[in-house]
C-alpha cells in the first residue's frame, strides 16, 4: 500500500488498468466514501424493498403467519378482481386527463409569467403558483372536502347564489373524479410550471427577433419556435408528471376513500388497502409489481416517441 502511494512518476505512458498514479488512490477512496451512504441507502431502502416486493408477490403473507408460496395465484386473483380492474382503469384515465391538464395549465401560466411584466410581479406569480406544491396533500384534500361538501360546502353555496342547484361533488362518480383531478392538478402543476419557466427562459431572444423579422408572431412563434425549443423540457415534465400521477393516493384517499363505489379508487389505494387493511401483502405486492411494469412501459414509450418529437437543437 505504502509503495503505491509513494511511487515515483514514470516516463512511460500510463496504463489506467494497471498503474496507480500518485494521488489517484486518495480521490478514489474519497469518492467511494462519499458515495457509500447514498449507495448503501439506495440499496437498503430502495433496491432491497423492490426485490422483496417482487418476491412477496408470489407468496401469501399476512404478517401474522409464515409466508406461503402460491406461485402466480396473486396475479390470477388480481386479474379476476373487479376492484383491481376498475382501479387500474381509473388510474389510467386519471393519468391521461391529469397530465394533459397539468402540462397545459403549467405551460400557459409559464408563458404568461414570462411575458412582459415588472420583475416583482413575475417573482410574486412564480412564488404563488409554486406554493401549493409545498403544502401537505392530506391537509389540502381535507380542506377541499369541506369546500366541496354537497350540503354545507362553500362551492355549492356560491353556486346557489348564482341559482345553480347543489352539485354532488363528492357523492357522484363524475363529480368526485372532477374534484380529485382539480385538487391534484392545482397542487402539482407548480413543479411543471417551474420547469417550463426554465425552458422558456433558456430560449435566446435573438431567435424570436429573427422570427419577428421573418414575419412570425404570436401563435406562429409559439407553435413553431417556443414549443419545439422547449420540447426537451416537455419530455422531462411529462415523464415526471406521468410517473407521479400513476402513483396518486393522498387526494382520493382523503377526499372520497375511493368512492362513490370504486369511482375514484386508484391502483396505489388498492395496494394500501390490500396490505394494511386486509393484510394481503402478497396481493398488494402483485398490484405493485404490475403498477411498476406499467410505469416502466409508459416511460419507455415516451422515450421512444421522444426520438421523433423532441428537438434537441
Amino acid at each position: 500500500m505504502s509503495t503505491t502511494l509513494t511511487a515515483s512518476p514514470t516516463l512511460a505512458e500510463p496504463n489506467p488498468e494497471t498503474d496507480v498514479q500518485p494521488g489517484r488512490r486518495k480521490p478514489r477512496l474519497l469518492i467511494t466514501l462519499f458515495l457509500a451512504p447514498t449507495v448503501i441507502g439506495l440499496g437498503l431502502f430502495t433496491l432491497v424493498p423492490i426485490i422483496a416486493s417482487v418476491v412477496l408477490a408470489f407468496f401469501r403473507w399476512d404478517i401474522i403467519t409464515a409466508p406461503e408460496f402460491v406461485g402466480l395465484d396473486n396475479f390470477a386473483r388480481l386479474a379476476s378482481s373487479p376492484t383491481v380492474r376498475v382501479s387500474f382503469l381509473n388510474t389510467i384515465g386519471f393519468v391521461a386527463t391529469a397530465v394533459i391538464v397539468q402540462l397545459a395549465v403549467a405551460l400557459l401560466l409559464a408563458i404568461l409569467v414570462q411575458s412582459r411584466m415588472p420583475t416583482w410581479l413575475r417573482t410574486f406569480f412564480r412564488s404563488t403558483l409554486f406554493f401549493p406544491l409545498i403544502l401537505s396533500a392530506a391537509s389540502v384534500s381535507l380542506i377541499m372536502a369541506y369546500l366541496f361538501n354537497q350540503e354545507f360546502g362553500l362551492v355549492n353555496e356560491v353556486l346557489g347564489w348564482l341559482g345553480i342547484a347543489k352539485v354532488g361533488w363528492l357523492t357522484t362518480g363524475f363529480g368526485a373524479k372532477v374534484v380529485v383531478l382539480l385538487v391534484y392538478v392545482w397542487q402539482n402543476f407548480g413543479f411543471t410550471f417551474l420547469l417550463f419557466i426554465g425552458g422558456i427562459a433558456a430560449i435566446p431572444k435573438e431567435v424570436y427577433e429573427a422570427a419577428s423579422i421573418d414575419g412570425a408572431t404570436g401563435w406562429k412563434q409559439f407553435w413553431q419556435l417556443t414549443l419545439p425549443l422547449i420540447s426537451p423540457t416537455m419530455l422531462v415534465a411529462s415523464v415526471m408528471a406521468i410517473i407521479n400521477a400513476l402513483q396518486i393516493f393522498d387526494q382520493p384517499w382523503v377526499l372520497t376513500r375511493g368512492g362513490p363505489g370504486d369511482e375514484t379508487r386508484t391502483a396505489v389505494m388498492v395496494i394500501y388497502e390490500s396490505a394494511f387493511r386486509q393484510l394481503d401483502f402478497g396481493g398488494a405486492s402483485a398490484v405493485g409489481v404490475v403498477l411498476t411494469l406499467l410505469i416502466m412501459l409508459v416511460t419507455a414509450i415516451q422515450f421512444q416517441l421522444s426520438k421523433r418529437f423532441v428537438f434537441y437543437g
Binding site: I64, L142, E151, V254, R257, P260, G261, R277
Partner: protein, 460 residues
C-alpha cells in the same frame, strides 16, 4: 479534488465509528418502545396526551403491583383500521405489545389470530370477577366472545342513539318523540324540522361507516348485511357469571353476505327516500369531522351518536339543554347497535399473568373510576355510568345510553368478522351507490354489495 492525508482518513473513519456507536440504539431499533424494555407494554388507540392521561391508571395499578413496570404506547390513527395496521406493523417489527386496546371492529380479527383467550384467568379469579360482571350488561360481554372463549372485558362502549338539536325540535313545533317512535314519525319530524328551519339545514346527518352508518337502520329492521349466527360454547361463562339469564352462546358469527335480504332492501329503501327527499345527507365516506361544528351551530337536526359525544359537545360550547338523545325509531324491531372497547392479551406476550392483572385492574371499580373521569364514552359498569352521566354534564335523557341495552337486550355489536376491513370496505363503498340512484337503484346497488361482500368474506 481535496487531498486527504492518511491522518484525515483515519480521523474520518473514527468519527464515523463514533457516530455509529452513538446512534446504535436507533440503528438497531432498540429505542423502539417496548423493545429491550423490561416492562408490560400496553398499546392504546390514542395520542401521547391520552397516554399521559393514563398515568393515574398506571400509578393505581403499580400501587397494587409495585414490581410490574408498565409502559403505555399510544398509537394514533384515523380509525380502528389504521390502529390495527400499526399494531400489526409492531408485530412485524418484532416489538409486539403485551396488551392492546381493541374495539369491536377488531375483536374477531385479534381473537382469531393474535389474542390470548382469558377463560382460564376469569375462571381462576371468578370470585373476584363476579362483582364486575354483576355490574355489566351481558350483551357487552357477549360481544367479546369468539367461538366459545372470552378475549376481552369491556372497558367502554357506545350504543348508536339519535342526538337531536333541541332548537331544531322547537322550531319544528313538535314534541320530543316517544321512545317507541316509528320510521314514519322520524320522517314526519325530519320534514317538520326542515320546514321550520332557514338557510343551510339538514334534518339528519350521518356518516358512511360501520358504527352509526346504515347498520342502525338495518338493526331496527331486525336485519343486517351479513348473516348473524351464534357460535356454540360459552356455557362455562354464562352458567357461572350470569346464572339467572338465558345463555347467550359462544359469540357472534358473521360468515355470509346477506345484502339482498328483503328487510335489508327495505332499510336501504328508507335511507334512499330520506336522501332523495333532502331529509338526510348523502354521506361522504370516511369520518365526520365537521359534524360537531354543524350540530352545535344548529345546521343539523339529528345525527347518530353515543355517550362519547357528550364531552366533545361540551368542549365545543354546546349547553346541556341545546341537545338531547333518544332511541333509534322502530321498524320490525328496535334493536340497536353498539361498539365496545377493552384490553386484550397478545398471544405472543411473555407476561400473560401480569397482563391479566392489568386487565383485571382496568375493569375494577377503582381502575374504571380512574380511567373514566369525563363523559367521553359510556361505561360498561352500570353504577359508574350512572355516576358519570348523572353528574350534570350531558343531555337530559342521558339514561338512554345504558337503557339501550336494558330495554332492547338483543342490541348487538357492530358486525365485524375477522375480515372486518375488507367487509367494511365492501359495505361503505356500495352504500352511496345503493341510495343515490333512485328507488330502482337500491337493489342494483345491493347486488354489487352482495358480490363484494362475498369476495371479502371469501378472503382469508
Amino acid at each position: 479534488m481535496v487531498d486527504l492525508s492518511r491522518r484525515a482518513v483515519v480521523a474520518l473513519l473514527g468519527a464515523g465509528l463514533a457516530g455509529t456507536a452513538i446512534s446504535w440504539p436507533r440503528l438497531t431499533g432498540r429505542d423502539i418502545p417496548g423493545r429491550g424494555d423490561d416492562a408490560l407494554t400496553v398499546a392504546l388507540f390514542g395520542t401521547q396526551q391520552d397516554a399521559v392521561a393514563r398515568q393515574a391508571l398506571v400509578d393505581g395499578f403499580q400501587r397494587k403491583h409495585p414490581d410490574v413496570a408498565v409502559r403505555i404506547v399510544p398509537i394514533q390513527g384515523q380509525d380502528w383500521g389504521e390502529y390495527f395496521a400499526k399494531i400489526l406493523t409492531m408485530i412485524a417489527a418484532g416489538t409486539p405489545p403485551d396488551v392492546v386496546t381493541v374495539a369491536t371492529e377488531g375483536t374477531q380479527l385479534f381473537a382469531s389470530r393474535l389474542a390470548h383467550p382469558i377463560d382460564e384467568y376469569v375462571q381462576r379469579d371468578a370470585a373476584e370477577m363476579q362483582e364486575y360482571f354483576d355490574d355489566v350488561h351481558p350483551a357487552l360481554i357477549e360481544s367479546f366472545m369468539y367461538k366459545g372463549s372470552l378475549f376481552q372485558m369491556p372497558d367502554n362502549f357506545n350504543a348508536a342513539n339519535v342526538f337531536y338539536n333541541t332548537g331544531a325540535l322547537e322550531r319544528s313545533g313538535m314534541e320530543r318523540p316517544r321512545d317507541d317512535w316509528s320510521v314514519d314519525d322520524f320522517f314526519a319530524l325530519s320534514r317538520a324540522m326542515k320546514s321550520g328551519s332557514e338557510g343551510r339545514f339538514l334534518p339528519y346527518f350521518w356518516t358512511n361507516r360501520l358504527w352509526g352508518g346504515v347498520v342502525p337502520w338495518l338493526y331496527i329492521n331486525n336485519t343486517s348485511f351479513l348473516t348473524e349466527e351464534k357460535a356454540s360454547g360459552g356455557d362455562w361463562f354464562w352458567s357461572r357469571f350470569y346464572p339467572d339469564q338465558e345463555p347467550r352462546g359462544g359469540g357472534f358469527l358473521w360468515e355470509h353476505a346477506d345484502a339482498l335480504n328483503d328487510r335489508t332492501v327495505e332499510s336501504f329503501a328508507v335511507l334512499q327516500r330520506m336522501v332523495a327527499e333532502g331529509l338526510a345527507a348523502n354521506p361522504a365516506q370516511g369520518g365526520g369531522n365537521e359534524l360537531v361544528a354543524l350540530f352545535s351551530s344548529g345546521q343539523v337536526g339529528m345525527t347518530p351518536a353515543g355517550g362519547f359525544w357528550v364531552q366533545g359537545l361540551s368542549e365545543a360550547g354546546v349547553a346541556n339543554d341545546d341537545y338531547d338523545v333518544i332511541f333509534f325509531p322502530k321498524m320490525a324491531s328496535q334493536r340497536h347497535q353498539f361498539g365496545a372497547g377493552g384490553y386484550a392479551i397478545m398471544e405472543t406476550s411473555k407476561r400473560k399473568d401480569e397482563a391479566w392483572e392489568w386487565l383485571k385492574y382496568c375493569v375494577s371499580y377503582e381502575g374504571m373510576s380512574i380511567a373514566h373521569t369525563k363523559p367521553d364514552s359510556s361505561i360498561p359498569r352500570r353504577s359508574l355510568n350512572t355516576e358519570l352521566y348523572g353528574a350534570g354534564l350531558g343531555p337530559a335523557h342521558w339514561e338512554v345510553f345504558y337503557d339501550t341495552l336494558d330495554k332492547f337486550p338483543d342490541t348487538a355489536p357492530i358486525p365485524a368478522p375477522p375480515q372486518q376491513a375488507a367487509v367494511e370496505s365492501a359495505l361503505t363503498k356500495n352504500v352511496v351507490g345503493a341510495i343515490t340512484n333512485g328507488p330502482g337503484g337500491v337493489r342494483r346497488g345491493l347486488e354489487i354489495m352482495q358480490r363484494d361482500l362475498e369476495i371479502a368474506l371469501g378472503g382469508r
